[in-house]
C-alpha cells in the first residue's frame, strides 16, 4: 500500500505558498473582472506569512497545514480567510498524529476540509465558487480509490477533476458572494476562488505524489 510520511512532508505547504505568491497578480486580475480584485493580494499575504513562520522549522505536514490555516483564519479575514482557514485546520486535525498517510487517510482529510467549508459557507456546487473545484476533486479521488486505483493515480484524478471543475466556472453565473450581484455579467470569467483552489489542490497532490515516489 502506498503511503507518504507526515513528518518529512511539511515542505508541500511551502511550495503551495510559492505557487500562490507567484500567482498573486493573476488571481487578482481574474478577481477584478467580477470581484474587487484583491484575491491574489490577500492570498499571497496569508500564504506568505505562513511560509515565513514555517521556513527553517522542518515542520511536519500536519503542523504546516495547521500554521497555514491558523494564519488565514486569524490574520486574513475576507471570505477566503475563514474558508481556507477552516479547510487547512481541518486537514491538519485529520492527519495529526498519523505517521504514514495512506489514500484512506488522505480521503478523510479532503472530506474534513470540505465539511469545514460547508459548515461556515452557504455555497453549493454550481454557484461559481471554490466548491466547483473542491467537490469534483474530492469525488474523483473517492471514485479512483473505490475503483481500486493506486494512491498516486487517485491523486492524478483529483487534480484533473479539480482543474476541470475550475474551468467549469467559466460558464457559470455566480450565485453567491460579491460576483453574484452581477448575474449574467459574471459569465465568461473564471472564479478566482475556484482558480486558487485548483492551484492549492494541484500542489498538494503533486507534493504527496513526489513523497510517495521517494519514501524517506
Amino acid at each position: 500500500m502506498q503511503t507518504f510520511d507526515n513528518t518529512s512532508s511539511g515542505a508541500i505547504v511551502l511550495s503551495m505558498a510559492e505557487r500562490i505568491i507567484e500567482n498573486r497578480a493573476y488571481l487578482s486580475e481574474i478577481d477584478g473582472k467580477i470581484g474587487d480584485g484583491d484575491h491574489g493580494v490577500n492570498m499571497a499575504k496569508g500564504f506568505g506569512m505562513a511560509a515565513e513562520r514555517l521556513k527553517g522549522k522542518d515542520a511536519s505536514l500536519s503542523q504546516s497545514l495547521d500554521t497555514l490555516g491558523t494564519v488565514l483564519m486569524t490574520e486574513i479575514g475576507g471570505s477566503m480567510g475563514p474558508l481556507y482557514g477552516v479547510m487547512f485546520t481541518e486537514f491538519a486535525e485529520t492527519i495529526e498524529g498519523v505517521e504514514k498517510i495512506d489514500a484512506a487517510t488522505f480521503g478523510r482529510m479532503l472530506h474534513a476540509g470540505l465539511s469545514g467549508i460547508q459548515s461556515i459557507g452557504a455555497a453549493k456546487v454550481g454557484d461559481k465558487t471554490l466548491l466547483d473545484t473542491l467537490v469534483p476533486g474530492v469525488e474523483a479521488f473517492d471514485k479512483a480509490t473505490a475503483d481500486g486505483k493506486s494512491f498516486s493515480d487517485a491523486l492524478d484524478a483529483l487534480v484533473a477533476a479539480a482543474e476541470a471543475g475550475r474551468d467549469s466556472t467559466l460558464n457559470l453565473v455566480a450565485k453567491i458572494g460579491r460576483a453574484s450581484r452581477l448575474g449574467e455579467r459574471s459569465l465568461g470569467v473564471l472564479d478566482a476562488g475556484a482558480t486558487s483552489c485548483a492551484i492549492i489542490l494541484k500542489e498538494l497532490a503533486q507534493g504527496a505524489k513526489a513523497a510517495l515516489a521517494n519514501p524517506s
Binding site: S28, G32, K33, G35, D36, G37, D38, V41, N42, K45, M73, T74, E75, I76, G77, G78, S79, M80, G81, P82, L83, I120, G121, I176, G177, R178, S180, R181, L182, G183, R185
Partner: protein
C-alpha cells in the same frame, strides 16, 4: 490618480494610526491593532455595540466609534472583511456584562467571520446578538431581501442601536431597535467613476465616459444597469423613484434622508442632487424630518453618491435625537 500613500500594503495600518492620533480624545486602539475602541468602553451594565467591515469606506466604520454610538469596531483589509479574531476582540472590548450586539452589513465574509466570532465569544460567556443590514435595493429583488447587501443605511442602524444601548436597554431591546432601523431603510448607489485598490493599482472595472452605473455597490461591484449619464436632476429623480417604489410608504410618513458621497464626488454635487431629492420625496407626500449630507460612507476614490431613506416612528425619532459623540458629527 495620484495618492497620499506610503506602502500600498500598509494602507490600512497607516490609516488607523493617523485616525487614532487625530481622535485620541474619543477612541483608542485595543491590544489587537485591528480593533478601534471607544475611550469609555466597556461601560459596565450597558449593552456593547460593535460593528466591523473592510477598510476604504472611511469615515465608516471606525469614525462611528464613540459615546452613544459604537463601542468597538473590527477593521478589515481594504474592501475585505475583518478576521473572526478581530470581531471577537471587538466583542470582548465592548462587553460591559450585559451582552453585545454586532450590527454589520450583509457580505459573505462578514457573515462568516461574525458567525465564528460569536461562537468564540460564547465560550467567553458573552451573549451576542446580531443584526445584518440589507438596505441596498438594487442588490436583490424585494422577494429576496435577505440577499441584499448593507450600505449607508448601516449608519442609521448604528445611531439607533448605539442610542438605544445608551438608555440602558436590554440586549434584546437594542437588537430590536437596530433591526427596526435597518428594516425601515432603503438605499441606492449611483457610480460615475470606478475606484482603485492601491495594491492592485488599476480600477477593477470601467465606467465608460458619458455613462453611469445605477445600483453600484460599495466595493466597486458594477451596478445592475449601465445608462448614459444624465443631469443631476434626472439622476436624483431616478434614485428617489427606485428607493421609494421599493419602500412603499404611506403618505404623511416622516423620513430621515442620508445622501453620501462615494469618495471622489465634491460636496456641492451632493447638494445639487439633494435639491431634487428633497422635492421628489416631498412631492410623494412624505415629510423629511432631517437630512444628513456628506461623505458618510465612501468607497475609496469612487465617483458617485448613495441615497438612503429611513421611515421614522416615535422611537426612532427619539433615538436619532440622542446626543452622540464620535468623530463624525451626527
Amino acid at each position: 490618480m495620484q495618492r497620499f500613500i506610503n506602502d500600498p500594503d500598509q494602507v490600512v495600518e497607516d490609516t488607523v494610526k493617523g485616525f487614532v492620533k487625530a481622535h485620541s480624545d474619543i477612541v483608542r486602539l485595543a491590544e489587537n491593532p485591528r480593533v478601534v475602541v471607544a475611550r469609555q468602553a466597556p461601560v459596565a451594565g450597558k449593552v456593547g455595540v460593535v460593528t466591523g467591515g473592510g477598510s476604504g469606506h472611511e469615515p465608516a466604520f471606525i469614525g462611528y466609534t464613540g459615546r452613544s454610538m459604537l463601542d468597538a469596531v473590527a477593521v478589515g483589509e481594504l474592501f475585505s472583511s475583518p478576521t473572526a479574531k478581530s470581531f471577537h476582540d471587538a466583542i470582548r472590548a465592548a462587553d460591559g456584562g450585559k451582552g453585545v450586539v454586532v450590527l454589520y452589513g450583509n457580505y459573505a465574509g462578514d457573515n462568516m467571520n461574525v458567525k465564528m466570532a460569536t461562537k468564540l465569544a460564547a465560550k467567553d460567556g458573552i451573549e451576542v446578538a446580531t443584526v445584518v443590514a440589507n438596505d441596498d435595493v438594487c442588490s436583490a429583488p424585494a422577494s429576496e431581501r435577505e440577499k441584499r447587501r448593507g450600505v449607508a443605511g448601516e449608519i442609521f442602524m448604528w445611531k439607533v442601536g448605539g442610542a438605544k444601548a445608551a438608555t440602558g436597554a436590554s440586549l434584546e431591546e437594542v437588537r430590536a431597535a437596530a433591526q427596526k432601523a435597518i428594516d425601515r431603510c432603503r438605499s441606492i448607489g449611483v457610480g460615475l467613476g470606478p475606484c482603485t485598490l492601491p495594491a492592485v493599482g488599476h480600477p477593477n472595472f470601467r465606467i465608460e465616459p458619458g455613462t453611469m452605473e445605477v445600483g453600484i455597490g460599495h466595493h466597486g461591484e458594477p451596478g445592475v444597469r449601465v445608462e448614459p449619464l444624465k443631469t443631476a436632476e434626472e439622476v436624483a429623480r431616478d434614485m428617489v423613484k427606485i428607493v421609494l417604489d421599493d419602500h412603499g410608504l404611506p403618505e404623511g410618513t416622516e423620513v430621515a434622508v442620508l445622501v453620501s458621497g462615494l469618495g471622489a464626488t465634491p460636496l456641492n454635487e451632493l447638494y445639487i442632487l439633494n435639491d431634487t431629492i428633497e422635492s421628489e420625496i416631498s412631492a410623494r407626500g412624505l415629510k423629511i424630518r432631517e437630512t444628513w449630507i456628506g461623505n458618510y460612507f465612501t468607497s475609496l476614490g469612487m465617483v458617485g453618491a448613495t441615497l438612503t431613506v429611513m421611515a421614522l416612528d416615535d422611537e426612532l425619532k427619539t433615538l436619532l435625537d440622542v446626543e452622540t459623540r464620535c468623530t463624525i458629527l451626527l
